[in-house]
Amino acid sequence: MINIISKKPYKSLSLKLSFFLILLSTASFSLWSDSFFKASDSTIEIISESKTMNAGDELLLGLQFKLSPGWHTYWKNPGDAGEGASVTWSLPEGIKASEILWPGPETIPVEPLMTFGYEDEITLLTNISASEAAVFPAILKAKISWYTCKDICVPQEANLELTIKGGDKRDTSFTNQLSTILLDLPTNLPSQHRVEALDDSYFLQMELKDDASINSAYFFPEEYGLISYSKKQITEINNNSLSLQVPGSEVDLKLQKFAGVLLLNSQNSSQFFNVSLDLGNEQKAEAFSLMDLVITIVFAFIGGLILNVMPCVFPILSIKILSFVEQSEGSRKKMIQHGLSFSAGVLITFLSIAGLLLVLKSGGESIGWGYQLQSPLMVTLLIYLFVAIGITFMSNLILGGQLAQLGNFTQGYSDITGSFLTGVLAVIVASPCTAPFMGSAIGIALLQPGFSTVAIFISLGMGFAAPYLLLSFYPSLLRVLPKPGAWMETMKQFMAFPMWASALWLTWVLSGQVETDTVLMVLLGALLIALSLWLLEKNQSSEGFIKWVAVSVATLLLGSALWLAPTDYENTQDKSSSNGDSYTPELLEELLANDQPVFLNFTADWCITCKVNEAIVLNQTSIKSALKSKNIVYLKADWTRKDAAIADKLAEYGRTGVPLYLLFSPGGVPTILPELLTEDILLSYINEIK
């Protein structure tokens, strides 16, 4: 070198040469695409466990990204924003590349959003397989696009290639590195695990081995629309189980699977596991089977028949039928014409109601009514309605009396038109007392597809019109028809009881949705309604000021009843689960001394696992009735406020925390139940008790 520099004539040559060499080496990056590429804030290189392979072999490749400090690239699900790397291979015949195998990601928060990706360095793996048809040397070409992001994102693109020669596989400097990365890929979660959806969260629960020192967990979902990325996930570790609360997505796409990668952190290591659990979101067999439809139609027909004997309908209609018997003057043909046009009137009215319902339904769906129908407010309003209807049946209060008088309106029309209009009016007139029957039909109709709604209403209408149609064909049957009279009033009064029974049932439904105190308030509301209707009835014939006072007081009472109605669900978990008595050491001792089997539930409000177990297992009726049938006493030790007596009992079983489930057989020997209860597990333990 010294020589060259000293000899001037060569200096320029050497400069030119080195310039040429530099040019050549740069060109080797840009012109001949290489296995390495340098982008603005990242580099990418294809690394391989061997530069040689034979036909029939598999070869592990890595796409190794190295990122400048502060920059990141993305996982296959990037989270709220960004995009994972993509690779398109051009491969010679006989050679195939697998999908990318993604190492577990890390959370990269971009306030207020959350993304999933990698910082510093990441190697995405691909398996290359060569069939017998493969010819070597083979050139593997990859077109890769990825994003590197910091506060801004930069798209990157590279065309890389790697030549693989024929021959036995031989280790390269990357072989160890690649096999370590392969080993660290998410594997299937070996321990028992499950997921439950409760309220707005998913609860992923798994068993922990005794020696596991896991202290936190994080779930990375595979698909959009399952969980919220930015909301915090909460890990709870118990003695031998872990619960992870994962807030559900703001946009719930009702995915069928809870799938993704679970990160488990312990003191000095982190491991990733694949999780894929069914969520039971499969489209429930909503297509209402044909059999169900037939049954519903039959019942609708019977319902329609019953409508005829309802007191608001019967008197008018029997008069009507007599009138069209008269008008027909014995002509059978005319009689039938009357019957048919009456039926047409009825059917068309029912069809219009069905149409109206369908319109309401589609409108309601768009503002999310489906949910409302089960809300405590709706249930309460129905309770009030049924109580009120019952009371009007019992009393002489005439609601909708004006409607009944409409019947006379058709007097002006004679003949066929008159019969048609009577049909229409019969349905309207009937409405005050047909509401309950219509109610159930409407309820079903709202849940069914359009054609069933129409079918249900047609058959209701046919049931309603049937007796008249029959009478118009066989007028002689008129003689067997009971005459309107006092029996109808008795019948009406009797109908109050099914109404109140419905109210009772709805109260039971409500008690599952709200606290006992609130149920009491609703019952008070029902009482106020009863009082207000009584006031109205008493003052029906009053005049002037007294009537005004009565009506205002009644209105006020009605208003108060409505004000008492609960508007939303209340947390009743505790109430409904604690059919169980509170645990005290003395009570337990006493029960055991009496050879009483006991199920003891150690729980606390702040214990996620306890709450999940209670919601999905302990509160199930199957469990409650199993406990009852085996005469097992359910005791609950609530450790929400740490209590020395409970802590002592826990310590007896080597526990420092909840949950703990103990099942004492009559001999007084307790079995420790698993922390992650399922109905099946608990039932099998319960069934072992004699």
Binding site: K76, D80, A81, G82, E83, G84, A85, S86, T88, V110, E111, P112, L113, T115, K143, S145, Y147, C149, D151, I152, C153, V154, P155, E157, Y224, G225, S228, S230, E250, V251, L253, E365, S366, I367, G368
Partner: protein
């Protein structure tokens, strides 16, 4: 007092961010456009409205504008008398934050066809809609009900840069068409893709 109120709103949205639901009333808002005029969502009642979150520096947005895909979509919307509101929620100092003049210049140079470009530097409107990416699209019907939220098309996902946008399924155009015909929107929620919205943190 006003600051206190803003603070409360910010806190509220921090907690309850991203809670617009399809088929529910879209939250109203009041923003300044790039001409300094107040524009609110409610003033467009009776008209269909498209919201487009944007950041001109984002490569995803850049590709949609470079390929004329966004302008074509805007053009179709304009023909159908649909109001198109382009919203910038980039905080000052972050990518995509622009002055009125810069924003108008971007509209001119890219031949974009929005009805208004709205500035949301505090990110309040973005957060109330849960806008996560640029682009992130929303479609609101004449009654103010949110009918669509998500990506502009199905070109998202890995390999976006290689995709030909003219071959992609444009969710906005499909939804506009279905809305016009009174049909149910087939894809009413899709996964938005792109860069993160550069909110102030």
């Amino acid at each position: 007092m006003q600051y206190l109120l803003t603070l409360f709103i910010v806190i509220f949205f921090q907690v309850s961010q991203a809670n617009v639901q399809t088929e529910q009333i879209a939250p109203d808002f009041n923003l300044l456009n790039t001409y300094g005029e107040k524009v609110s969502l409610s003033e467009f009642k009776g008209q269909t409205v498209v919201l487009e979150w944007t950041n001109h520096g984002c490569p995803f947005v850049a590709k949609h504008y470079k390929t004329q895909n966004m302008q074509n979509t805007q053009g179709e919307a304009k023909k159908a008398n649909v109001v198109w509101l382009t919203i910038i929620s980039s905080a000052p100092g972050t990518q995509g934050f622009v002055s009125n003049l810069e924003a108008n210049e971007l509209t001119r140079s890219r031949s974009a066809l929005p009805s208004h470009v709205l500035l949301d530097p505090k990110g309040l409107v973005g957060r109330s809609y849960g806008a996560k990416t640029t682009p992130h699209m929303y479609l609101i019907d004449q009654f103010g009900v949110l009918k669509y939220q998500g990506a502009i098309d199905d070109a998202g996902g890995r390999g976006f840069m290689f995709k030909n946008l003219s071959e992609a399924k444009n969710y906005i155009l499909l939804a506009l068409d279905e809305l016009k015909k009174g049909k149910k929107i087939t894809d009413s929620i899709t996964k938005p893709y792109g860069c993160s919205v550069k909110y102030s943190s």
